[in-house]
């Protein structure tokens, strides 16, 4: 499995994820949330930022079900789902992830027929290599 190649801007996201917290970068002076993280606020140009904790609840914005050819670790789980989740706390913040049956379950652990745009999901976390990454559980399982 590919693990995220972390850069300076994104590092805090993964550090908070390792503690089981879903946090999004926010501008310190104007409070505007932004994703993906970046050095400067596009609204007020401040370089001061902080990381706001999210409730971890969201909705499926869209999803795909990839089939081979894929990289071997992914082909082994195909067809699986990849989703974009919009956060209830900030609908313009959207995260790519996977809906799974349990935090450590495989990417194909939920029948794709159960996925719907708009379905409620809740964040969970699992280890992936040296990092902790978010996964998503259907709220109505």
């Amino acid at each position: 499995m590919l693990t995220p190649v972390v850069d300076e801007d994104g590092a805090p996201f993964w550090e908070y994820a390792a503690r089981g917290e879903l946090r999004v970068q926010a501008c310190a002076p104007c409070g505007e949330l932004r994703f993906p993280p970046r050095p400067c606020c596009p609204h007020c140009r401040s370089f001061d930022n902080e990381w706001h904790r999210m409730s971890g609840r969201g909705r499926i914005w869209s999803y795909v079900v990839p089939h081979p050819p894929l990289l071997p670790d992914y082909a082994a789980q195909a067809p699986y789902n990849a989703v974009v989740v919009e956060l209830l706390d900030a609908p313009h913040v959207r995260l790519v992830g996977n809906v799974v049956a349990a935090p450590d379950a495989s990417l194909n652990s939920v029948d794709p027929a159960r996925l719907r745009i708009g379905a409620g999901v809740k964040v969970a976390f699992t280890r992936l290599g040296d990092l902790t990454v978010p996964r998503w559980l259907l709220e109505r399982s």
């Binding site: 590919l2 190649v5 994104g10 970046r38 079900v65 990839p66 894929l70 990849a82 974009v84 959207r94």
Partner: protein, 382 residues
Amino acid sequence: MASLKDAAAIAGIGQTAFAKHLPESEKTLACRAIVAALDDAGIDPSEVDGFASYTMEETDEVEIAKSIGAGDVTFFSKVGYGGGGSCATVAHLAGSIATGQASVGVAWRSRKRGSGPRPWKNTAVQLPTPGQWTRPFGLLRPADEIGMLARRYMHEYGATRDHLFNVALACRNRANQNPAAMMYERPLTRDMYMNSRWISEPLCLFDNCLETDGALACVIVSAERARDCRHRPVYIHSAAQGLPAQHHGMVNYWNDDPLTGPAWTAARQLWKTADFGPQDVDVAQIYDAFTPLVPLSLEGYGFCGRGEGAAFTEGGALEIGGRLPLNTGGGGLSEAYVHGFNLINEGVKQLRGISTAQVPDAATCLVTAGEGVPTSAVLLRS
């Protein structure tokens, strides 16, 4: 302010064969396409003093210039974002010629994507942003990234797989008329489409472009010079690049409105500097790495309203004789996928009146580059 409008023209086009596998190197193929384009224009290679290509192009102007016997080169440029750069290569050369930086420009793309590696398989070039936010979750390939937008588009606007089939079919029908197309002798039916294997649901095999070895080039000179060349000049009437505010590459899920992509930005600039509008376009070459890019582009470039791109494809609108015949050589879906350069050359063929699927009396053609990525477009006229 100086204007680009009709200041430069495409005077020559050239291409190699298109195939799943060609034995020659990308460098050799590039030289063959370029020499053919210069011969088509009737211009000696020693006169070439400008080059433009894509950042993803693996051959470079140093080697090309040396091999074809170019003279002193005074302008060279490479445009980023994969297939989004196709039309910008023409635009950069038109600008360089209009401003006197060069007099004979060559734009080219040579790619062995048919027999060579698939870029998404390279795990060493995971760009930290946005790759860290997408690839670990199995969103690995462009087909997955565009499939995500496609499903959202279908959900918001009631688009169906039949709409995507309309796009695939129009391209295939034109390829069936084009002996140079990889799918020349391969008709497509609705049954074949609906029963084909998935690549990334909701996209099936036929929603994806071909994998091609091949090269193309075109020659750009001043409008005045073009009138002395071998063929009827095809004027570069208007050109634009497009990088929208808060855009994020092909994974454009993070701005306020992910379904209005770079096409909208390029279109505003393109029409602002043109003497005519979308209703005056006789034929279009719309970048079609994936079928959903066509309805998204039809909306962006103003052929219909927001959310109407899928419905626009109904009733044979994209076929010859329809409202907007497009991708008349077969496009990336059915002629060849060489990062959209075949769409540029096909636009030239239409305006010369020599396409294998000629639109009668075509005098204006829109050519677009990859949608979803930072893009570009040119309006051509005869």
